[in-house]
């Protein structure tokens, strides 16, 4: 472990910008218009961001959707999936839970799950499980900013995709947010040397 950390520092990763801040804004806009195209009205459609980092995207989408449609009543919640994970007791460290805030009824609503990166599909599997504790939605769709292809461990596909990337295991996709990280940006990190 210590060896790896030293290794990481002495051989920095190569970065590639997948979305710069301009493209980032355009992508968010496009995703909003796609949602409007499919749902027309948001009376029966709710947005739910997946903790921890999907909530930034869902907040942004919610804010932009409200601006475009002029509606102030688009419902928006956040969902923590920690207690529904399938790797509990199978890893050394314990993930810390975050808050869940869904203070509206999802029974018979169209739920749009929002997460920043779709990778193995296990988070979304857990989110589908968790959402059922709040009722039976009419349908669930998935919106992600980044779809990492070739890494899926479960049959999960997104309905709305910001951009796709051909990333392999070992590479890392990081979505940065203006409010939290100072800049809107998506970066793909690749280890410059093969650590194996």
């Amino acid at each position: 472990m210590i060896f790896l950390i030293i290794f990481d520092k002495s051989f920095p990763m190569e970065n590639k910008v997948l979305l710069d801040s301009e493209l980032f804004t355009i992508t968010i806009n496009r995703l909003c218009y796609q949602l409007i195209e499919n749902h027309t009205s948001f009376d029966q459609t709710v947005l739910i961001g997946v903790q921890p980092r999907g909530i930034y995207l869902s907040e942004r989408i919610h804010q932009r959707l409200s601006e475009i449609t002029g509606s102030k009543n688009i419902q928006h919640g956040i969902l923590d999936i920690t207690f529904h994970r399938d790797d509990f007791r199978r890893r050394d460290e314990l993930p810390v839970a975050s808050a869940t805030e869904i203070d509206f009824v999802i029974e018979n609503k169209n739920v749009i799950l929002v997460d920043d990166v779709l990778y193995t599909g296990r988070t979304i599997r857990a989110a589908l499980d968790a959402i059922l504790a709040f009722g039976r939605p009419r349908g669930v769709e998935l919106l992600v900013l980044i779809d990492r292809k070739f890494s899926r461990e479960l049959p999960v596909q997104a309905d709305y995709v910001g951009t796709s990337v051909d990333a392999i295991t070992g590479q890392k996709v990081k979505v940065k947010w203006k409010a939290q990280d100072g800049v809107d940006e998506v970066i793909l990190y690749t280890p410059s040397l093969n650590i194996k």
């Binding site: 207690f83 314990l94 975050s98």
Partner: protein, 318 residues
């Protein structure tokens, strides 16, 4: 998807003493998540699907036992219940044999209440010597007059919920300090979380060791109540008192019982707690127990959330 990771410093929950402040904070924070879950339409998560818990109650209990059982069920654990009456304990089976036999049936966590102080520590120490039982984790649900850590944690959670924080808050524990495991665990947890603690009761029920714990001691209930933000009224544990510590219950109640008149005459509003079971009319009167000052039923509700957090965090350590 990145998530922060953290865990407890211990495999068992034997007492508050021996835990770190970060452990208490992690448990209280996780309990907040579980409190949200138990207020959902479906109050259940699948985390402990592959965990079996045995509730071993060698001593009577209503709240703690039901609370643990609900916490386990809401985490989807499989559970078995054991109570000393009607078991082979009456045939002379020892604690360690009983535990080993239950563990041989592939049980992962034992929640134990026992009348002997130190029973949980003893069991946790002994199990290491039995390879087939070494994996087991022990949660102390009250051991004699020693500790009752889950009660202290739910008390801390309830005070925090009501007052925002424990830092700098003044808490008085009133009554039978000598025989109360709730008192001892509360003293440790409240001090660790930054609260000031006072004990109040007749001299005969205040043990000598309190001077070594850095506590304030007060024998006048009114003065104690004027000082505090929170009053935790303990039950007189007649079942553990082999001697007479005060002349009559009536006299005790007149000196150390909290009634509405006394509560209303205080210069500030205080929070009243009780770990249950209440002896109405002895340590507090009915109108106080059912008043807006009382958070007794919040304590019970929070008990389930706090125990879920403890079970979840310990199971994650195995």
């Amino acid at each position: 998807m990145e998530q922060k990771e953290e865990q407890l410093s211990t495999r068992h929950l034997l007492g508050i003493k021996g835990l770190k402040k970060s452990d208490l904070e992690l448990i209280l924070r996780t309990a907040e998540n579980f409190k949200e879950i138990i207020n959902r339409p479906i109050k259940k998560v699948p985390s402990l699907r592959d965990v079996t818990v045995a509730n071993m109650f060698f001593e009577n209990s209503t709240r703690t036992r039901l609370s643990f059982e609900l916490a386990e069920k809401r985490l989807s654990a499989d559970i078995v219940n054991f109570s000393a009456s009607g078991s082979s304990v009456s045939k002379g089976e020892t604690l360690i044999d009983t535990a080993n036999n239950i563990l041989a049936m592939k049980v992962d966590i034992i929640v134990m209440r026992h009348s002997a102080p130190g029973a949980a520590v003893f069991l946790a120490g002994q199990l290491k010597n039995y390879p087939k039982s070494a994996h087991a984790q022990i949660i102390n649900a009250g051991d004699g007059t020693h500790e009752h850590p889950t009660q202290a944690l739910l008390d801390a959670f309830s005070i925090r919920e009501k007052l925002g924080s424990l830092e700098g808050k003044k808490v008085v524990i009133v009554g039978d300090i000598m025989h109360s495991r709730v008192a001892l665990s509360n003293i440790f947890s409240l001090q660790m979380l930054g609260a000031e603690v006072m004990v109040c009761g007749p001299t005969t029920l205040i043990p000598k060791y309190v001077s070594s714990l850095g506590l304030k001691v007060e024998h006048n209930l009114r003065k104690a109540l004027e000082w505090c933000d929170v009053a935790n009224m303990l039950r007189i544990q007649l079942e553990r008192q082999s001697l007479k510590y005060f002349p009559t219950l009536r006299e005790y109640s007149m000196q150390y019982g909290l009634d509405k008149k006394l509560l209303d005459s205080l210069s500030k509003k205080i929070v009243v707690m009780h770990p249950g079971p209440i002896n109405r009319g002895v340590e507090i009167t009915s109108d106080v127990a059912d008043s807006e000052h009382s958070i007794i039923l919040d304590q019970v509700e929070n008990g389930v959330a706090v125990r879920m957090a403890i079970l979840y965090l310990l199971a994650g350590k195995s």
